[in-house]
């Protein structure tokens, strides 16, 4: 791979410089966030009049942030589990079998991510409150999140199946294993890393979601993005938000790294 375009050194240099520049542009605002988490100024005055660990201390003590984090983690975890189950079922069903309506099914799976969040959010809110008369709750967030997370799992599973083919399962059955044993000993373990990668992506997607969440969350269940949203609009809370954001960015490297390692074949899949 590397060196495949050995000869075009000029191009290589140009691309490298360009990539570097864009990465700088990507990270300057993030660096600003990190810097502002130490800024003594409440509203990120520039240049910072002074530096302080005060906000980090406050953030550490903020039970609100912790509760919101806990809600976010729970929502993301449950939504991911649902997405894992539904996404891999759909993936299992749709591989190789060419049946009428296959396109419709995959369109349906893609739709929640292809339609803007505000549409998905509003649609769910309307369904829950206007049509069904259900109160918004933890579960309404989970349902909405799981819906748009299915596609990440589905895509990862599909990509894996495409690469593996069906030979391994046939080999297993040939060796005397029934359908369930084959699934348990062969299909599932081989899907494993794809599921993990899809799950991690789906977890991340849910974790940072704000639009759909705004529509489907009740006041008792504030996810971290909602907490951030509210606190940005509260006086004197904005720097704590920066602390939280900085921590999130740094922590996010871990799951991303894992997902990357586990699914080098499906790296692009969201």
């Amino acid at each position: 791979m590397a060196g495949s375009m050995q000869a075009s050194r000029g191009l290589r240099t140009t691309l490298r410089v360009f990539t570097g520049l864009v990465l700088v542009v990507i990270y300057v605002p993030l660096a600003l966030v990190l810097l502002n988490s130490f800024n003594t100024d409440n509203t990120f005055g520039w240049p910072p009049p002074g530096f302080t660990l005060h906000w980090w201390d406050l953030a550490r003590q903020s039970t609100g942030a912790r509760e919101a984090l806990w809600v976010s983690l729970r929502v993301a975890a449950v939504a991911t589990v649902v997405a894992l189950v539904l996404g891999s079922l759909a993936g299992l069903a749709l591989r190789r079998t060419a049946f009428f309506g296959r396109n419709t099914v995959s369109l349906l799976i893609i739709l929640p991510i292809a339609l803007p969040g505000i549409v998905t959010g509003l649609a769910f809110k309307n369904e829950f409150t206007t049509i069904l008369g259900v109160e918004l709750s933890f579960w309404t967030i989970v349902i909405a999140h799981a819906t748009f997370c299915i596609v990440t799992v589905f895509n990862n599973v599909q990509a894996r199946f495409q690469r593996l083919g069906t030979n391994f399962e046939q080999a297993s059955m040939d060796l005397g294993a029934g359908r369930w044993t084959t699934f348990r000993l062969i299909t599932f373990p081989m899907m494993g890393s794809a599921l993990l990668a899809g799950g991690l992506l789906s977890f991340g997607l849910s974790f940072d979601e704000i639009v759909v969440t705004q529509f489907t969350a009740d006041a008792d269940h504030r996810t971290l993005p909602i907490w951030i949203f509210e606190n940005l609009f509260r006086p004197n809370q904005a720097p704590i938000v920066n602390v939280v954001a900085a921590v999130l960015v740094i922590l996010s490297a871990i799951p991303i790294y894992l997902a990357q390692r586990l699914s080098s074949d499906t790296a692009g899949a969201r």
């Binding site: 100024d41 409440n42 509203t43 990120f44 005055g45 520039w46 406050l58 003590q61 903020s62 039970t63 609100g64 509760e67 006041a219 008792d220 509210e230 606190n231 940005l232 609009f233 509260r234 006086p235 004197n236 809370q237 904005a238």
Partner: protein, 382 residues
């Protein structure tokens, strides 16, 4: 809380006097606490230390009264009304656009102010208002209020403005540096301005506009827009804009002015001569309250001077209880917020949701409702 809350939602059922309140019995005495109380509140009105450890007036309440407080926050006035209909809540912090609906709908009971030891200390200009009483009977206890002020950059804006004309007819002086509140309810600010400057339009109440009046306000705002740098909707955005100089003049809340000033921005906030729009919130007791005694305990607690001082300073509004001024950490707080200034308060037209039935009592025309205002606001922004 009320800042963005009171412009929410619904069209209150009828105007004062336009309906008879359902006959709901009023509590006559406070008995033993039931051990818990279900509170429905704007975020920020019942802090238990979870946002900031030092911001906590719920835990002391529990300790003192033995009433375990179950707080549920709501996001819009509608949500509050809907949740109150379930009958599961004992007490609610309602804004001007929810109170009448709750009263008319029989969701709240009249409040026996004799049982509330702090009631006497509540500023008189907040008592017996059209949005918290019926025929002189209080349906709640006032919590706090605030005005939408005019803020300007003292370095740039000279001479100091005294009128809203600085952001309307004279806005072009600061073209591209004017800011305004990003909500349809801001149309009332324009109406208020027209009330004084275009008397021919016959605007009596900035929340009761007929088609022509609304059109006039919309025109005014469209002209203003040419000079607007941005519309603001949250503290952070406006404080930043005034500090950087992106905005130099526009509507504000006292708390924003204070924060900006505290961070070294050269700003001042005034209540212009035309008066202003603003908000006022009230605690009300549920008609089917399961824990009425604890509910009264809570109302008493939340209107106490010390707690009032805490809430007001945290939230950034004027406390209803003037005695709170003795307890604020910032000794100038009450002056800044004109807590006991009845004349000041009189100039405020509290946010009410416009409905098609004219709130100013006209019956010969249909007024524009909040839906019309939203459409108009969309059109103004273009």
């Amino acid at each position: 809380g009320t800042d963005s809350g009171s412009d929410d939602g619904a069209k209150a059922g009828a105007q004062q006097g336009g309906f008879t309140a359902p006959d709901i019995p009023m509590q006559q005495s406070i008995g033993d606490g039931e051990g818990e109380v279900d509170i429905l509140a704007w975020p920020g009105y019942a802090e238990d230390g979870s946002t900031d450890k030092s911001i906590d007036w719920v835990t002391p309440f529990e300790k003192q009264t033995g009433c375990q407080a179950n707080v549920k926050y709501f996001g819009t006035s509608d949500e509050a009304v809907q949740l109150m209909k379930t009958g599961e809540y004992d007490v609610v912090s309602a804004s001007g656009d929810a109170t009448l609906r709750l009263i008319a709908g029989g969701q709240v009971a009249p409040v026996n102010t004799d049982l509330l030891t702090n009631y006497a200390d509540i500023e008189d200009f907040l008592k017996g208002q059209q949005f918290n009483s019926v025929d002189g009977q209080m349906y709640g206890v006032p919590h706090g209020w605030g005005a939408n002020l005019l803020m300007y950059n003292t370095d740039v804006v000279k001479p100091a403005p005294t009128s809203w004309s600085a952001v309307f007819d004279d806005a072009s002086t600061y073209a591209g540096k004017v800011t305004a509140y990003d909500s349809p309810i801001y149309i009332a600010d324009a109406a208020l301005y027209l009330m004084t400057h275009e008397p021919d339009l016959g605007i009596k109440d900035p929340y009761a506009l007929d088609q022509d009046q609304l059109a006039a306000a919309v025109d005014l705002l469209k002209k203003q827009k040419e000079n607007v740098s941005e519309y603001w909707s949250d503290y952070l955005k406006e404080v930043q804009a005034f500090k950087t100089g992106d905005s130099v003049i526009g509507t504000t809340w006292q708390v924003i002015a204070s924060v900006a000033e505290g961070e070294g921005a050269k700003v001042a906030a005034i209540l212009p001569e035309e008066g202003s729009t603003g908000w006022s919130d009230t605690w009300m007791v549920g008609a089917k309250a399961a824990h009425p005694n604890c509910a009264y305990e809570w109302m008493n607690w939340i209107t106490g001077p010390e707690v009032q001082a805490q809430v007001a300073e945290y939230f950034g509004e004027a406390p209803a209880n003037g005695k709170a001024c003795d307890y604020t950490s910032d000794k100038t707080f009450c002056d800044t917020y004109h807590v006991t200034d009845a004349a000041y308060a009189d100039q405020i037209h509290y946010w009410t949701t416009p409905i098609s039935q004219c709130l100013d009592g006209r019956t010969d025309v249909t007024c524009t409702d909040y839906g019309d205002w939203t459409t108009a606001w969309t059109e103004i922004k273009g």
